[in-house]
Amino acid sequence: MNIDYLFFFLLAFLSVITAIVVISNKNPIASAMALVFNFFILAAIYLTLNAQFIAIIQILVYAGAIMVLFVFVIMLLNLENEEKLKDPLNTRKIFRIVLALSMIFLIIYLFYFIDIGLHKTISESSIKIGTVEQIGYQLFTNYLLPFEITSILILAAIIGAIVLAKKRFP
């Protein structure tokens, strides 16, 4: 057994476990903490793929900004009556779980048995393309218009969030 496989399976196991904790825990704060762990483990998986910039951005944006927002909202809402949110295991729920599990097996079957091509190992140029320099070069030359449109999207999201969360809805 190669050390790369060992490392990958450890990270994959941890990420799946934390994802299951996110969707199965009764306490929303515990779910949020498990989600933070999941984001950190995904950042480590990005590092094994030589994507350094994406790994750092994952920690900054997801584990930093988005999760602070989540925890802030959970504490702001002060959810007391968790009993009303409980859902007994009825036939509809079982049907949904079976549907999702059949989807997972279909996707894994497709990915595992389809011949993806010659890319059995990671590309040798992947060390170069994951750097801040290369991603920044791509962003400001080939993808400049999407980058500028993203700023308009974020401006619209800021205004929308303020308007929606204001005390008196206009």
């Binding site: 790369d4 496989y5 994959a12 990420s15 799946v16 994802a19 996110v22 969707i23 929303p28 989600l35 999941n38 995904l42 998986i45 793929l49 994507a51 910039f53 994406i54 951005i57 994952q58 944006v61 997801y62 900004a65 988005i66 989540f70 909202v73 959970i74 809402l77 959810l79 949110l85 859902d87 949904r96 779980i97 549907l99 999702a100 989807m103 997972i104 996707i107 894994i108 990915f111 595992y112 890319h119 059995k120 190992t121 990671i122 040798e124 992947s126 393309i129 994951g130 290369q134 991603i135 962003l139 999407p146 999207l153 974020i154 619209a156 999201a157 929308g160 969030a161 303020i162 969360a165």
Partner: protein, 102 residues
Amino acid sequence: MLTVPLNYYLALSAILFSIGVIGVLTRRNAIIVFMSIELMLNSVNLTLVAFSSFLGDSTGQVFVFFVMAVAAAEAAVGLSIIIALFRNKVTVNIDEINLMRW
């Protein structure tokens, strides 16, 4: 040189995506549903980064950057919608929020 093949990363991404789907379909807490959506976005990001690294093309990682920007905007707007709903109905149970159901 890394020896874990591309199929393993894609299978892990599929598993994480399906866990997110199960969370969206079974949980009734709107905030947990939102977290499950973030899980699904992350699994798609993992697919994009894996293909980008294995093909030696940086377009996938640029796309992941845009997905993260959209996810941040979506989280801000969605959580403010949850706050507005909680102010009106004092619940985050998505079964009781049926204002637009026909």
